[in-house]
Amino acid sequence: MVTNLYRILKYGFQIFGRNSLASIATVSIMVFSAALFLALMLLGTVGKVAVETLKDKIDINVSFYENAPEDDILKLKESLSTLVEVKSVDYTSKDEALELFKKRHEADPVIIQALSEIDKNPLSASISIKAEDPSEYSAIAAYLNSGSFENIIDKVSYNQAQNQMLIDRLATLIRKVKIGWMLLTILLTVMTVIVSFITILLVIYNTKDEINIMRLVGASNAFIRGPYIFVGILYGLISAVIAFIVVSFLVWLAAPQLLLFVPGMNLWAYLLSRFFGLFGLTTLFGVAIGSISSSIVIKRYLVG
């Protein structure tokens, strides 16, 4: 068993080496397929993070009257926290608001001077509410505007239509890019399978003398098929490794720029953290294409 496996691998390497030009052509196109496949996986993550980042930027800001009792505001905060639509509620007291304002404008002496000339704190307390899903903001806004809190709420800042439109546009764009990318990957995968078919056929033709001798001396069908399937696997494996290296290099180059557009999406760090999973899937993709195409062609043209 081990001896036969060793011989299959040995003949596989010999076939690979003796058909080097055909092997290079196949590996080249397989690299594109595997790279697109890997990029598709990364694109999915980038899209997801981009939408999440945008969603995270949306909130409802509620500012309170200057004389609104803090206890009432905290009661409102508590009641909001119990709503299933609400993800988080952050309370900023008048004093905290003043501190934040001073910190934000510490480089502007005119504003700081103007603030010190006012005796009292001009800022009001506020709460910031984030929903589990952007579609739920309207329900939260309706709850706040129901009238129960009109004596303490000064203003509810929320632009449902604009926020939703932004999210929808981004999601649609990402979905369209993903579909286009997927179609491109499928197209290239089909092309790869066809090229692999032709290459393996060529390899079979080039080695037909060996195949005839194998048949004559009673080599099992599995033994005859083995080296060709191994060659297919080898094509896939080499392609996946090259594709992973190329895509990783491109990600390393593009990651800082991407971080500007999608804050929180460090694609390079993501790739490193998911190295084994992504590399495994890319390898699986390459090996699957290589072995399946060689298996089909061998079944059809070699030993039936």
Binding site: R215, G218, A219, S220
Partner: protein, 226 residues
Amino acid sequence: MINFSNVSKSYGQDEVVKDITFKIAPKEFVSLVGRSGAGKSTLIRLLIGEDKPTKGRVIFGHYEVNRLKNHELPELRRHMGIVFQEFRLLPKKTAYENIVFAMEVAGKPQREIADTAMQVLDLVGLADKTGNFITELSGGEKQRVAIARAMVNRPDVVIADEPTGNLDPLNTWGIINLLIKINELGTTVILATHNKEIVNELERRVISIDGGRIIKDEEKGKYLLI
């Protein structure tokens, strides 16, 4: 050992083997003779399972060859050594490597390969040419390598299909004598040929075929066809 029972074979409308029945016992040396297209090669293809008969049964040992599935054929062929007119060797390998290749793909253990390969090359008289590439050998030497390859897995029968067709008279007799030697060592030999001189000199069993039918089957037979 080998039993063809009412075997017919057609390719489309063309019946090339017609209701043939014969038996070959172990250790026999049998010549299948006939003109080109008489049906000799078809009988060999039926025997090694490359073709299935349209009618009848082909038995080899305990195998019913006509019923074997594709994946069962390799086991059958490990009991056979097959030699062709056109040698069918690997030109980019040496004589020794050709033998080793046949043993490796047949699944022989590594420890057995080196010794056996040298023994069979010695048997066919090529002990001094083991390192020569096939392209460096004469026609007779190539056929000897092919016979060595056929013998290397210790088959029950050696089937030689026109093995001397490409050889000069001197080499022809070298190959025939080698087949006789193999037969004397206990291996059944089936020789398909249309060489009248060889058949008449051999004085062994001759099955004569013409138009897909056996026209004569006799011990110490002669070549009857013109």
